[in-house]
Amino acid sequence: MSVETVASLGASRPRAAGAAPAGASKFGLAAAVAWRNLWRNRRRTWLAVGGVAFATALVQFSMSMQVGGYAAQIEAATDFFVGHVQIQRSDYVEQARFEQTINGVTSLVRSLEVRPDIRSVAPRVEAFALASVDERSFGVQVLGMDAARERRTVGFLKRINAGRMATGPDEVVLGSALARNLGAGLGDEVVVLGAGKEGGVAALAASVSGILNSGIAELDRSLMLAPINAVQGAFGLGDEAHTLVVRSADPLAGAELVGALNTELPQGAKARNWDAVLPDLRQGIELDRLGSVFLYGIIIVVVTFSVVNTFIMTVFERTREFGLLRAIGMRPGAIIGMVQLEAFCIWLLGVGVALALMVPIIVWLSSYGLYLGEEISQIETNMFLPDRIHPRLSWAVSLTAPAIMLGGVQLAALAPALRIRRLQPVAALRAQE
């Protein structure tokens, strides 16, 4: 843009700004001028746009990956064993004791199952006992399960990879390492001895109907599954259970469901969301999120510095032009406003490039998933890391990075432009271009 057109601008005659039709608003004109100014130094503009696009695209991509990854982790972890929501007696939550059971389980389960926000409920009895085969004995955690309800609620019984789930009172399923340690195979006889309610002896003789291989060494070493009625009978329990595992209709609305349940449940019973049942998973996610916030912060700071630099150079080179605009009566505020508009255009282009690049990639990956390699899923933790992450695109995620970047870019343009207020028109006009 030549000095003449700029001068005509200052005199408020929009004739020269070809992009703006006559009678266009002042703002439209200013925007048109700012847009034109950008292309006076294409390389510089594109480099600044590139920085903004890089930061926005990277932050947006990794945030989408995080949202998708966390969702997959939570779904895998809850579907594995613990369910979305667990109901237990509140003193059982604090310190699990065998006699702290929920009574009237059959009717409670039925009343919960008809709720629209609950898909299914599975009651469990949890006892500790000594399992023996011949002369070998090991301590086991006995889980009494209602197989049909259990299958509707979580995927745990799919992990029985030899034989089948116990169906009668004289059948049990053993964890794979436990079966190996006991030297027991399918069809072998196991004797279970434990302490029942009120100190009675609980005894159970059963044959092995299946072997469970959960992939979690601790469980495979110690778990024994049996039908809930058999365990209740052997351990002297009536219509009681220690835990009700709930699959909710909307896993993300767990907090509301828990709140509603806690006002309706019988005295002493307490509902907890998955994040209270699996604090390690919640904390792992929080820590990961914290690390990323640090990363995003640094990226945005570094890119903002680049934008500051762009505007330092712009303002420096246009000292003469700004002096002229001042001399013909344009107020410093209007000039700063024009520079802010230029910054806004850079942001707009940067975010546009970022979205144009990233949205298709994220949409594609959200259906195909990003394969992270087998090693990831072989890390056996309670974290349930998926080996394939499906990023998720959401408005919140798509707007966060651009919004923060907008703040950074406008501030970056403001700092150097504030000099314009102190500009002496006469001295500035003499400045060499």
Binding site: R97, G139, L281, Q283, L295, I298, V303, E375
Partner: protein
């Protein structure tokens, strides 16, 4: 000649202090963040290894064949008195020979499954047990027939120091053994999982109960990780009929996390430098373009194109060098400030699941810092190539005519 060019480059940088100052700040932030992050990742790695090694593993462990699939006193071995002197070669920090068997532990209020471990307390300086906080008393020696249980397990069993616990396990003859043990003390460990998993007694006492004067495991701690591979070889050669395994094989989860950390440092570097490079190229190109006339003049006076390139590359190199120096110093200051570690106890269960302790201490490794410095300088030079090419492309007459 080079000195002259260097002088020229420095002057060019000083001509635009504000602009180059901002660029410098960007480099400082990026470099400091990468160095700081790499030190935190290294700290995490070291912690993972240390936690794994200290959890009764040691760097190397010797087991009877088949013990891992079927743990018990049947899979045990006798240890020659002089085994250590033959393989040591100054690499061994300490070792412990133990008996470890699965057992059922019972109080009057509860029953649990545990790993029952017979130890010689004098040897356990190599494991977490040696430094664990004890309520009550530690075991006196290998003949001590009392039991030491974790605090969390004691809570589950609703028992306390001085009370008795009953242990049921399998003897060497395959028959069940049942014996009472008085609680000498309760130990506290990193994480409740450890406290619930292990109960300890004197190794001689346990051997007597099981009826076998043998060990099920030999755990060896080394002074340093690099001595691991040769030590494994020497042990395998000496103890031919036994399994010799290192901590990576025994704790594959910690070992895998360990490997990911290396990649994480590199990814951090790439991201930071990616963010930096746009600003760097921008600054350098501007610096070249506003000197078109000057560069034309220098060329007219006989400066060779290679010198023009060198001048621009030097300018980028100096800017980067200063940024890297300040960035590393800044990271150093932050690392020094964090030397006592970052308290992660708010996320205790989360970090323990990953096999880490709740205090994360940064560990700055000279080779990491050198690598980051070298890669940053290389990037600075790479970023200056396009501006340098622009500078060479300047046409003499055109430039002078401006």
């Amino acid at each position: 000649m080079l000195l002259k060019l260097l002088q020229l480059s420095i002057r060019n940088i000083l001509r635009h202090r504000r602009r180059n100052g901002v660029m410098l700040a960007a480099i400082v932030v990026a470099v400091a963040a990468v160095v700081l992050m790499s030190s935190l990742i290294r700290g995490m790695q070291e912690d993972l290894a240390e936690t794994a090694v200290a959890s009764l593993l040691g760097h190397v462990k010797v087991l009877a064949p088949g013990y891992r699939d079927d743990p018990g006193i049947q899979r045990s071995f006798a240890l020659a008195e002089d085994w250590a002197s033959e393989v040591d070669e100054g690499a061994v920090a300490g070792w412990a020979a133990r008996v470890r068997v699965p057992a059922v532990i019972m109080s009057e209020r509860g029953t649990r499954g545990v790993q029952f471990v017979g130890v010689n307390p004098a040897q356990e300086g190599i494991s977490f047990l040696g430094g664990a906080k004890i309520v009550g008393e530690f075991l006196r020696d290998g003949a001590d027939g009392r039991i030491l249980v974790g605090r969390a397990l004691a809570e589950q069993l609703e028992t306390k120091v001085g009370r008795r616990l009953v242990i049921i396990t399998q003897g060497a003859d395959g028959l069940s053994r049942e014996a009472g043990f008085r609680i000498a003390g309760l130990y506290e460990a990193q994480g409740e999982n450890l406290e619930k998993a292990f109960a300890f007694t004197g190794v001689d006492a346990l051997q007597r109960l099981l009826g076998a004067p043998a060990f099920t495991e030999l755990s060896i701690r080394l002074h340093e990780e690099p001595a691991l591979a040769p030590m494994k070889e020497r042990l395998a050669a000496r103890l031919t009929d036994l399994d010799v395994l290192d901590w990576r094989e025994l704790a594959p989860q910690a070992a895998a996390m360990f490997l990911f950390a290396d990649a994480a440092i590199f990814i951090w570097f790439l991201i930071m430098m990616g963010a930096l490079v746009f600003g760097l190229v921008n600054t350098l190109v501007t610096s070249v373009m506003e000197r078109v006339r000057e560069l034309g003049m220098l060329r007219a006076l006989g400066m060779r194109p290679s010198s023009v390139v060198l001048q621009v590359v030097l300018e980028a190199g100096i800017l980067m060098l200063m940024g890297v120096a300040v960035g590393v110093a800044l990271a150093g200051a932050v690392i020094y400030w964090l030397a006592d570690g970052i308290d992660l106890s708010l996320w205790a269960e989360g970090v323990e699941t990953f096999g880490m302790s709740t205090v994360l201490r940064p560990v700055a490794l000279a080779e990491d810092v050198l690598l980051i410095v070298a890669m940053s300088l290389a990037l600075g030079v790479a970023a200056s190539l396009y501006p340098a090419w622009r500078a060479v492309k300047v046409r003499l007459l055109e430039a002078l005519g401006r």
